[in-house]
Structure formats: structure tokens, C-alpha cells
Amino acid sequence: MAFLAPLLLLGLAALAVPVLIHLTHRERGQVISFPSLMFLERVPYRSMRRQKIRNWPLFLLRCAAVILLILAFARPFFTDTTSLAGTLNGGREIVVLLDRSYSMGYSDRWQQAQAAAQEEINTLGPNDLATLVLFEQNAEIGARSSVNHASVYAAIARAEVGANITRFGPALQLAKSILEQSEFTEREVVLISDFQKNGWTGDEAVSFEEGIRLRPIPIDGTDASNVTITSVAFEREPFSAAEQVTAMARLVNQSDLNVTNLLVALELDGHEVATQLIDIEASGTATVSFDPFIVSEDQLRGTVRISDDALLQDNMFHFTVSSGQLVSVLIVKPDAATLDSSLYLENALAVGNTPTFVTETITVRDLNTDVLEGRSVVILNDTAPFDGPTGNALVNFVGTGGGLLAVLGESVRWTPEASDVLPGSFGTPTARLSSRSNVLGYVDYSHPVFDIFNAPRSGDLSSAQFFQQRPFTVTNPESVLARFADGSVALAERRIGQGHVLVWASTLDSYWNDLALKPVYLPFVHQLAKHLGKYVEPTEWHTTAQLLDVASMYAARGHRLEFGRDDPVAVAPTGARLPITGTDSSVFLELAHQGFYEIHTPGAVVDVPLALAVNADRSESDLATLDPQELASSVTGRAVTERLGNLVLHERSPEDAEEQQALWRYLLVAALFLLTAETVLSNQLSQRAR
């Protein structure tokens, strides 16, 4: 015999209560101070009355009732294994892996999966142990190993579809670790899922030991038609003081059936602003371009929505847009420039929309303070107007955050004022026509201009041939970003105030080199302009299960969070408030749901609200399945598993034993019976006393 709550046995001290009542018969009432009890204590009558127990049966009845009540609350149970004969035979332990990735929300798959899981629980014997593991990208235990099947059953009923993708690996690993600790010889993993191909790469390296079976229960999606919005792209153009944005949604038909008259709608700040009807072929894609809309500096929340199909999560795509994503580039060419001197540059900058470069080309005589207004980047293409008021205007422009690229070509002339702006000085052009052409020999890949070329097969900068260049002498060797193979400077940088100045010691057209004819030309020019224009690619949306560094997000927007003062709070799409606490700059917010998260800083002087669009990972939308038996075989290492029928003596947990025996109920009933008898007896006694 043991007790689940042995500390409650201390309550047996409560027995002293009826004993004291009987023995002392303490009178209630006032306390009278008396000089001495010397004589009162000698009076024999009082002491006799105090020590007498007047009714032994009543006294014993009360004591017994109290004992039974305390024993009942201490939750007794028998530990003797012979009393657990029921556990000797047929015991097994199963782990039910229930897929709750968002593809399970397709049609009635989730209801089917819940029913299948509950059916598994129903088939368990009274001594079988069951564990529920809910999994999507990660796995978590929904109900621990227990013979209390009702709690597992309830946990299945409580579970909901998540917003993440399927990954079988973590779930199988968790099931393995649970069953490896089991003392049962019959152990089984029941995997209930829609068995998406994307959930199993084959590299998971999960292997069950001998004796653990894996039984897959595939949830059949008879109608697997599904259209997904995979992404939304934005094209930006300047529009007055704001920007005009065209949203383009990309849709994929995942099924083998044609889809016709699919309604695609664009919502901005909760209002539907445009709709289109489209047709998509089987396994085809479509792009829907909506009419442009205007965005200002405030964040605009948008959602592209398609008419409901069976899988709801991928029928919508959330994003946030705001202005400030255009890079304005001014190209300044010499007065006597040829017509095509800036042709490659202009065309290269006209391509692409991340970001959109707004270019304007002027001759150097038109350069003045007004023209520089609102520009992000100025490219001095083969000209160097650093003297006079224009020079001052350029220095001011760079000092206040502008970017300047000086391209040193044929017609550029050295003036002493140029040393105030450029990172060094240049000399007369060197022609290499007589000898071998030059190539780029050293490139600082750690610099933002070149970091995209760092990875293998991401552009060969050394493929361009340079026939002529300007010798450039830097004042600081560390300012060199690229050198030619002969060691002369190709690209150098200088920082003035908040802006950057880059010097390219050759041309950006096809006269002195063939860089403009190489594939790396366009990304190289774009990188130059992005770096000089301080362009940061906006994150229009995030993906579920992503961890977000809140502090760095605010830092990117120019706000410094002070934890302890600002106390940022995130409001999830479900409406739940998630306080974000931290003491340093690395505090993460887990994005668990699809929709819009809002982050507020209620403690800050000015609350800077930040909206985050979160979309479910679209890889889950591909409902293609894998063969469940194939997965089972690769995990267990055998095609057919044997049912092992050995007898197992399983030491159950005290909680289980107590719950099954439920001795407390009998004790409580007995206590109530005794208390009733006590009431009757004491009533009779008091009536007799009258």
C-alpha cells in the first residue's frame, strides 16, 4: 500500500480535535484572570468532569470518520504487483504521430486524421500505454505515456491544424526516443499523415531499433486540386512625391485539372481594390497584374486572395509595402560626349525592379544644385566638375548622404579641387593596345558591391578585357576595392560625411573595355548604384516558423529599441498579445501564424507601430504524396514487421495505478456513512440528555 499524496497523512493530527473536545471539554467564553488557581485545581469535581470520555462509541465513530477522510485524500493504492495481474499479458506501447501541418487542413483531411487517431486509441487494451505526438515542422508531445486513454483522446480532439510545413524526421526521432525507453517489447509508431513528398527527403537518418514497428495510416485526399499564390512581386515607379506600385501575383495550379474563372482579388488595408478572373492550365502557372496603386511612407497592408478552394491557407498572400524604394540616379556626361557614351549605363539601370532605378542624363553644364535635389546617386561619366560652385554642390551632396561615382574616361581632366572629393589622384590614360589587355585581378568580395559575386558560378568579373585605363593613385591603400591584374587601382572608395564616393578607373561603355558586353555588367552596375544609393531590399513578407530579430528590424528603420523602456509588444493575427522582452539587441519573435503581426512600443515616447506580413511556407501547397510503405521501410529497415507477443511485466506509474484502483472513492463513501451514523447517534444522545 502506498499513497499518492503522503503529506496529507499529516492531517491525521486532526484526530486530536475530537480527542481534545472529549478530554478537555473546553468551555467557550471569556477568560477570567484569577490571582491563583491553587485552590481551584484542588477541587475534585471539575477534574473528573474534564477527563471523562462520556460516549466511547461516538468518540470512536468520529475518529474513524476523520481517519477515512484523510486516507481518501491521501490517494492510496496497492503497489503489490500480484494485484496488477491485468498488466501481465498483452501490454504494448504505441506512439501516435499526428500530422497537423497546414496541408492537413485540406478539405476534411484533419477530421479524418483525428478520427483515425481516436480509433487507434479505442483499440488499446486497458494496460496499453499511448503517447500522442503532434508534428509539423517540429514535433511536440500532445499527451504523455499514459494508461489514461481518455486524456490522449481529449488531446487529439483539442489539437488544431497549424500553419507550418510537414517534416517527418523530427516526429519519427521523437517517437523513437520515447519507445526506446519503453519496457514493453511490443512497441509501435502509428503515423497518421497525408504523406506529402516534401516532408521526407530521405536524408533524415532516422532508424528504428529492432522491435519498433511503424504503421503508416495515409489520409487520402481524393480531390487534390489546389491553386496557390506563391509570391507577389512589385514594380515601382515615381508618382509625384510618392510611389506608384504595381502588384503582380504569381499563381500555381498544383493539380492535374484546368482551373477556369478563378477570382483573384487584391485587398489593401482590408478593402478590396481590384479583382480579376483568370484561367490556369493543369500544373500551370499564371501571373496576375493589378492596376497600380499609390503608396506613401506609411506601411500599406495588402492581401492577394483567390476564391476558396479546399486548402485555405495558400489562398491568400499577405504583404506590406511602403515608399522609399526608388533609387534616383543622375548621369552627368561631358558636353562633347558621344551619343552612346552613357548608353550601356542607362540601359543597365533601366532593367529590374528591385529596386527601380529612376535615371536622368544631363550634360555637365546643366549640373547645379537644383538638379541634385532628391537624387540618391550621381554618376560623373567621364567628367570631373569639382571646381567652382558645382564642385561645392557635389561635396555637399555627398556629405549629406548622396553617392557619387566618378568614371575616369578620355575627357576627364584633373583639377586640384578633385582631391577634396576623390580618394586619390589620377593621371593620363595608359593605353594597353600595344601589349596584352588587362583584367580585374583583385576584388574585395567582402565589400557590398562585390559580395553577390562571391559565391561560385555567380559571375566572373575577370572575364572582361580592359584595353585602356586611368592610372589612379590612392591616398589610403585600404580604400581600394578592386585592382587590375597589373596591380593598378580599378575601383576605390572614399567616405565623406554620410555619403560614399567611388572611383572607377576605366569607362563603363565599350570604348576602353568590354565589360559592358559581359553578363556581369548589369549586376555590377546595379550593385554600384545600390551601394551608393544605400538601398536596402524591403521585406514585404515573412514565412511562418521564422524567427524575427525585432531589434534589428527597428534598427533598419532608424529606431533604436531600448528594452526595459520601450517594451515592444507583438499582436499576433489571432489577437494574442505576445510581450517581447529582452535585455540586449538579440531578441526574437517566433512567427507562428499566417496573417499580420503588429509590433507596438507602448513604453516609447513615440509608438512606432510595425506591421509584418506572414505567409505560410508555400512548399506545403504541393500535395504530391510519397509511398507510405516506402517511408516505413526506410525507417524500420524492413518491409514486414513481426508482431512480438512476449509477456511483459510493466511497472506502471503510481498515478496510473491509483487512478485505476480508485480506492479513494470507497474510503470517501465509508467516511460519509460513518458521518451519517454519527449524526444520528449524537442526535439521539442529545435528545436523551434533555
Binding site: 478537555t24 468551555e27 477568560v31 477570567i32 490571582p35 491563583s36 488557581l37 485552590f39 471539575r46 474534564r50
Partner: protein, 305 residues
């Protein structure tokens, strides 16, 4: 009983003119021989100068020839010296029990206040007789001690005024210690409620008697202690030990009264055998009346002796 008045000597307020008027014409005489220095009203332990003839004795060289009884010489032709009994002043000390139980009061004066009146009145009376006055207060220990002196009336009154019933009391040890204080034979007035076994009380008080002191014992009791007038069943708490017992008073009133009467009778018998004057003072009895009765009885007894 008179209310306390503010006077220059704090303890003097315990001396009530009404009491003094009543007992003023009485004398607090020592019933035994006491030691003194000056002429007083008590009989001294040595022979001295007074009007009371004591005896004749043979003349010894060195005796004052003025004390030779010439008439006897004329009759017997021998020198005899005439001896007279000496009168003396006495040491009068009050031994006041200030144990916590003395603070009990069932409505009027507490026992301690009554005892203070008693002590102050006796001290005043003694001082008027040119006796040296002193006081000792005690509970389980000796708390304060004022040695007897003719000039100590104020100090004694101060001590009486300061006395408070604070701690549990004990007979025996403190009284045994006091025997060291009273080397010179004198008059001792012991005032207490005597919640102790008679044997222990007697063995303690007997020490004073053995030293030759004239001991008066005043047993001060509240009427509630004598009559036990409580009706409702209550918890009774011992003032000194804090012990509580539930009591139904009506069931044990008679037994209690019997026990306390036996106690006083046992004390009276024991003290009388030791030639100690003993009196029970009920605090509901006016002190002038009680003291008058006691002193006049004592005077009568002195005459008998």
C-alpha cells in the same frame, strides 16, 4: 476609602488622614524586647534609664556611685546598685509582597493598593513613635530594600509608591535572604496574599521569629477570593503562571470557599503557635476600621502579657 492625592512625597498619599484619625491614639508597641539607641516607648533588651524599677545588684567597682541605693545601704550596710528597665525606640520594617497576584482586583482597590495603604499607615504610625522605619518589597526575588532609619520615612513612601505587581511571586527564598537584613531585633509587618502552602510560609516567617523579631502578618484578600462570586462557566487564568482551566463556578464554589477558609485557619494556627500576630484583611473592609481592630486587639494582648 480615600482617593490618592498628589503630594510632595508620592507615597504619602497612601497615608489617609481618616485612617490616622482613627488609629492615631493607638501605639504600635513591640510585644517583645527590641534593640534601640534612644529612649522610646518600647522595652529595650538592656537595662537603662527609666522610671520603671527593675532590680538591685551588688556594687561593682566602676559603677556610678550615684546609682547606689543609699536606703538599702542604710538597712543592709551593703552597697547595692538600683537597676531600671530601659525604654527604646525600635526598627520597624514592612515586608511587602508585590507579586503579580497582588494586583488582583474584583472591582475596588487592588490588593496591592490596599497593602500600600496598610504599609504606609503603619510606617507613619511607627515614625511618629520615633521608631526607625524601613521596607523590603519582594516577589520571587527581593526587589527593593530600604534599611530602617529615623530619616527614611520619605524613602519608604517613595518605595511604596513605586511598587507594582509585575512578576510571579515566591515564598521561601526571598524571605530567607531577608533574614540577613534584619540583624537588630525589631518589628516586622509582612503583608501578602499568601498563595503558598502553609508549611512553606511558616518555615520562612519562622526565621524572623527565631531572630527575635516581633512579626505581624497581614493576609490581604479580595472579597472575590473569599466568596468566589462568579456565575458563568469560564476559563480561569492564573495571573502568575498563565495556566488556564475551564471552570463551572457554581459547581465548585462551596469547595473553594472551604479550601480558602482551611488555608487561613491553618495559617492562623501556625502563626499563633509562633506568637506571630496574624490577621486577614478583606479589601472591601475600610482600612481604618480593619487597622483599628487589629491594633487595639494587639494592645489588649500586650496588656494581658
Amino acid at each position: 476609602m480615600a482617593t490618592q492625592r498628589h503630594t510632595l512625597i508620592p507615597g504619602a498619599s497612601f497615608v489617609d488622614p481618616k485612617v490616622l484619625a482613627r488609629i492615631g491614639n493607638l501605639e504600635l508597641l513591640a510585644r517583645i524586647l527590641v534593640d534601640g539607641f534612644i529612649n522610646g516607648i518600647h522595652k529595650a533588651s538592656s537595662l537603662g534609664v527609666s522610671v520603671d524599677f527593675a532590680e538591685h545588684r551588688g556594687y561593682m567597682p566602676g559603677d556610678d556611685i550615684r546609682r547606689i541605693d543609699w536606703r538599702l545601704y542604710a538597712r543592709t550596710d551593703r552597697y547595692y546598685v538600683k537597676e531600671f528597665e530601659a525604654d527604646s525606640n525600635a526598627n520597624f520594617s514592612v515586608i511587602l509582597d508585590v507579586s503579580k497576584s497582588m494586583g488582583f482586583s474584583s472591582g475596588g482597590l487592588s490588593k496591592l493598593d490596599y497593602a500600600k495603604f496598610l504599609a504606609a499607615s503603619l510606617t507613619y504610625l511607627a515614625n511618629q513613635q520615633r521608631d526607625r522605619v524601613g521596607i523590603v518589597t519582594f516577589d520571587s526575588e527581593i526587589i527593593e530594600r530600604v534599611p530602617p532609619s529615623a530619616k527614611h520615612l520619605d524613602v519608604v513612601f517613595h518605595t511604596i509608591d513605586r511598587a507594582i505587581a509585575g512578576r510571579p511571586g515566591l515564598f521561601g527564598d526571598p524571605l530567607f535572604r531577608m533574614t540577613e537584613f534584619f540583624k537588630r531585633r525589631g518589628i516586622l509587618a509582612l503583608i501578602s496574599d499568601f498563595y503558598e502552602e502553609p508549611d512553606i510560609i511558616l518555615s520562612a516567617v519562622k526565621q524572623f521569629r527565631a531572630q527575635g523579631h516581633d512579626v505581624m502578618v497581614f493576609h490581604v484578600l479580595d472579597p472575590a477570593e473569599l466568596e468566589f462570586p462568579y456565575d458563568t462557566a469560564s476559563s480561569f487564568e492564573d495571573m502568575e503562571s498563565g495556566e488556564r482551566i475551564p471552570i463551572v463556578p457554581e459547581n465548585l464554589r462551596e469547595q473553594y470557599k472551604k479550601l480558602i477558609e482551611e488555608h487561613t485557619l491553618a495559617l492562623a494556627k501556625s502563626f499563633t503557635e509562633q506568637q506571630i500576630d496574624y490577621a486577614v484583611f478583606n479589601t472591601s473592609t475600610p482600612i481604618d476600621y480593619a487597622l483599628f481592630a487589629f491594633l487595639s486587639a494587639r494592645e489588649r494582648m500586650a496588656r494581658v502579657r
